[in-house]
């Protein structure tokens, strides 16, 4: 007998192809851009001038420059600090603590906290950046409300403590995601299991550390995976707040990439930076995906 599993679809290959067209286009486009960046990372292509037309292959020169010239390694280090403190320590830990502490309480405190962190999340990056710069500047709200009334000389936070300020801004901006994820994860832990631990003599801290945290380990790994990748490549908030400065204090890889490609116009070198970033994020993802796996 003839295979007639799905006669309508098999007889309408054209319809099938048409339906898949957007997906094919999208994948094609993604591959095209990746290939483009990869290919031009081996050239001296520039944004303007002679080299924007008459570019030539330069082999591994761009990649050598990553390590021999100042810039890339410093930015990598800034990014690592930024990711570690704002995403992993800040958003993840703070999000978890908030989720654990506010769990089960139906108080107004919970609503207030939730609204606050959701606001941070929903506010457009540029608006948030403006608010943070204005608040932490020499004439900003913090100086006017706290520092000056205490009789101390005003501090230009955004200038003197640029990296801590953008880190804190990003914690405020991104904690909502971790909070929501961990709230859902903690809700998935059976109430009776937690009660069993209580009867077994576990203190509230031990119940969190020895019972709830290990049970939601896959959620934690997923969360780390997402926020690390997002923060690693995060651009608008920092760029709008400091543009990478003062000096290069807040120049994370994303900002460095932008400055090299579009301010300096070194598209070839910029492509090499983006390829390097892709590799780093890929390696990190592999690490987290291993965490996701079941033990043993």
């Amino acid at each position: 007998m003839k295979n007639q599993a799905n006669p309508w679809l098999t007889s309408n290959l054209w319809v099938l192809g048409l339906g898949m067209l957007p997906a094919i286009l999208l994948i094609g486009l993604l591959l095209y851009f990746t290939a483009w960046a990869f290919a031009f990372s081996f050239t001296d292509l520039a944004l303007v001038g002679r080299k924007s037309v008459e570019w030539s292959w330069v082999g591994l020169e761009n990649f050598e420059r990553l390590f021999t010239r100042r810039g890339f390694l410093e930015s990598l280090w800034t990014t690592v600090i930024f990711v570690f403190f704002s995403a992993i320590v800040g958003q993840s830990v703070l999000g978890f603590l908030l989720a654990a502490a506010l769990r089960g309480s139906r108080s107004t405190l919970r609503s207030v906290v939730e609204v606050c962190i959701m606001l941070g999340w929903l506010l457009p990056d540029i608006v948030a950046a403006f608010l943070w710069s204005a608040t932490t500047a020499q004439t900003g709200l913090i100086n006017q409300l706290i520092i000056t009334p205490l009789g101390l000389p005003p501090v230009n936070f955004i200038n003197d403590y640029a990296l801590p300020v953008v880190t804190i801004a990003n914690i405020w901006k991104g904690t909502a995601w971790s909070y929501l994820l961990f709230t859902a994860a903690l809700d998935s832990v059976s109430r009776e299991v937690v009660e069993a631990a209580k009867v077994d003599g576990a203190t509230p801290l031990q119940r969190i550390w020895l019972v709830q945290l290990p049970i939601i380990r896959p959620h934690i790994a997923t969360n780390m995976l997402f926020i690390t990748i997002w923060t690693f490549t995060y651009f608008p908030l920092i760029f709008a707040m400091t543009g990478g400065g003062p000096g290069r204090q807040t120049e994370t890889l994303a900002v460095f990439l932008y400055n090299q490609s579009f301010s300096r116009g070194n598209l070839g070198f910029g492509s090499a930076i983006s390829v390097a970033m892709l590799l780093i994020v890929g390696v990190l993802s592999l690490f987290y995906l291993r965490l996701l796996r079941e033990p043993k």
Partner: protein
């Protein structure tokens, strides 16, 4: 000493009171079963004894000590949950050892106690497995094992068998009875299941909407229920209730047939209760009740016949063996006067 006593124990959630002053004394080593319809407060009561639910009023004492403000781990209790509540990220061994480790018990002793419990429950082969890799029955044993290793004075069970299939439930029931015999601990057991209540309990506590209706041994409840609620709730086949009119010589049944009874409180009798297994088939002339057979269920060893009275009520009979009865046939029933229960207007039993 591990007796448990409740004095005027109350529980309210906000303005809603769900347990209204329960008094109960449970002797050391006793097996007490809480039964009652869904939502009557069995779990709430058990959780207050366990220390998982704050007590809104009254006193709970264990072993002569008031424990209202004593945290769970110091109450000397262990609890087995309906969902087993095993720690999914720990092996069977670790699940059972968790409480002891938290209490900083020496390693050798932990090992010895876990292995002893595993031996009693025959779960030694699974000690290294994760709970996920166990069947429902095996998980239930691990949950019981986790309770045993803590060597509690009082075991609390909240419907521990309700997630098991019928065969496994029967088997585990027998094992819990044996366990009670071996461990000699006080056990408080919540269930919906009549059979579990009747077979396991030294005493049954019948609860209804947050109040105790009756406390007694299974046979006391079966033979002398204090009201229609207990009479209808205990035993696997529900008691038949028939509206009657009292006369000086007995009670008048719906078919205008007089059932002669001598009883001091006869005048206030309104309802007659009789269990299906006490009704007998009779010949036409000797019948107290007659009706048509609406349904018959044959179980082989016995049969349940549902007989529709002319008044519209349905009477259930439990008949031995496999009687040859046909649907829609007229059935004549004899009500043995010694097996009946009389209740007044408020449903209280007449003594």
């Amino acid at each position: 000493m591990s007796d448990v006593s409740l004095r005027g124990v109350r529980k309210s959630y906000g303005a809603l009171e769900v347990v209204h002053g329960v008094d109960l004394d449970i002797r050391s080593g006793e097996f007490v079963v809480f039964v009652g319809p869904s939502g009557c407060g069995k779990s709430t009561l058990l959780r207050m004894i366990a220390g998982l639910e704050p007590i809104s009023g009254g006193e709970v004492s264990i072993g002569g000590r008031v424990v209202n403000d004593v945290p769970s781990p110091q109450r000397g209790i262990a609890m087995v949950f309906q969902s087993y509540a095993l720690y999914p990220h720990m092996s069977v061994y670790e699940n059972m050892a968790f409480g002891l480790k938290l209490a900083k018990t020496p390693k050798a002793e932990v090992d010895q106690r876990v292995r002893e419990a595993a031996r009693i429950l025959q779960i030694e082969p699974y000690l290294d497995r994760m709970p996920k890799a166990l069947s429902g029955g095996q998980r239930q044993r691990v949950a019981i094992g986790r309770a045993i290793v803590r060597d509690p004075k009082v075991f609390l069970f909240d419907e521990p068998l309700s997630n098991l299939d019928a065969a496994l439930r029967a088997q585990t029931r027998v094992e819990i009875a044996k366990l009670h015999d071996t461990l000699d601990a006080t056990m408080i057991y919540v269930t919906h299941d009549q059979v579990e209540a009747m077979t396991l309990a030294d005493r049954i506590v019948v609860l209804n909407s947050g109040r105790i209706e009756q406390v007694g041994t299974p046979l006391e409840l079966y033979r002398e229920p204090v009201n229609t609620f207990v009479a209808g709730f205990i035993a696997s086949q529900r008691m038949n209730f028939i509206d009657v009119t009292p006369t000086p010589d007995g009670v008048m049944l719906p078919g205008k047939i007089l059932l002669p009874i001598q009883h001091a409180g006869l005048a206030s009798a309104r309802t007659l209760g009789v269990r299906p297994e006490h009704l007998e088939l009779a010949s036409d002339g000797a019948a107290d009740l007659s009706g048509t057979l609406a349904v018959i269920e044959q179980f082989g060893e016995y049969a349940l016949a549902y007989v529709e009275m002319p008044s519209g009520e349905t009477i259930t009979l439990k008949l031995d063996g496999a009687p040859e009865l046909h649907l829609h046939e007229t059935i004549h029933i004899k009500v043995p006067p010694e097996a009946i229960h009389l209740f007044d207007e408020a449903g209280r039993a007449l003594r």
